[in-house]
Amino acid sequence: MDKLVIAGREFDSRLLIGTGKFASPDIMAEAIKASGAEIVTVALRRVDIDNENDDTLAAIDRSRYLLLPNTSGARDAGEAVRLARLARAATGINWLKLEVTPDPYYLLPDPVETLKAAEILVKEGFVVLPYINADPVLSKRLEDVGAATVMPLASPIGSNQGLKTRASLEIIIEQANVPVVVDAGLGLPSHAADAMEMGADAVLVNTAIATADDPVRMAEAFKLAVEAGRIAYESGPAAAGKRASASSPLTGFLRD
């Protein structure tokens, strides 16, 4: 499998994993390990000052994984930039999953505010990985302002609906000069494999793993699916056709 390269940094794994919704920090840590992921997204929230055991991410070995803070909760560019600066102060790293989602029902990203924030943050030296709707034009605009990737959604966050935006994803992948990470809505390993076979450079999965009955084994299943899909893509899939094409020779039949 080729390496994934984002902003000049190489990764063996093409599966990014989110850390939300796990039943316990230990299960989360085990699932991350089983997924083989090297990039792990995290959120930024107020400390629960009434709960001393609030640090749920202590179980993550930060020397092994690149933490990718997100700006979840941001409703406009200003809030996203504020969260980004805090994230950098918290982690000491400048990688950022930029998300601006003012709509609480579908959590669809705001393209105008996302582009605005991306422009500011790239200038401030952030490696910006923006979460976007599957919009090929916006993808190019983000690339133009220096985004390190684009992360179009497959379907609404946490919906597990799979590749509802397929046609637009195909255009984004065809046109992109930065890695395309399909993010949000992938509910099954087959969805992830499908995205990788289409030529996505990576996928990001959280809910489908964290809320499975056995998150650790589901993480492994996604790992295998992502690898299978990528290897298939690199192998050049055979053409699909309408009619049958015999796999066995059409000569030498045992008949006169």
Partner: protein, 70 residues
């Protein structure tokens, strides 16, 4: 009484008992400074500055931490 607004909640202190610095406030709240980032009146305070960032009554302090998220 003296007061700090911590994560949106007003915390009152007897005169002279207001935590002197961000580090003192974290100790007072039993919050491990190693995993926290702070804002005082909207300005980011880097972790290595917690001990020398003085607090005054009436200030708004945000204590923020990484949490699980996608």
């Amino acid at each position: 009484m003296e007061m700090l607004k911590v994560n949106g909640v007003e915390k009152t202190f007897a005169p002279g008992k207001l935590p002197a610095t961000v580090a003192d406030l974290l100790a007072h709240l039993n919050v491990d400074a190693a995993t926290v980032v702070a804002e005082v009146d909207g300005g980011i305070v880097q972790r290595d500055s917690f001990a020398r960032t003085k607090l005054r009554t009436g200030q708004a302090v945000e204590l923020i931490r990484l949490m699980g998220g996608g």
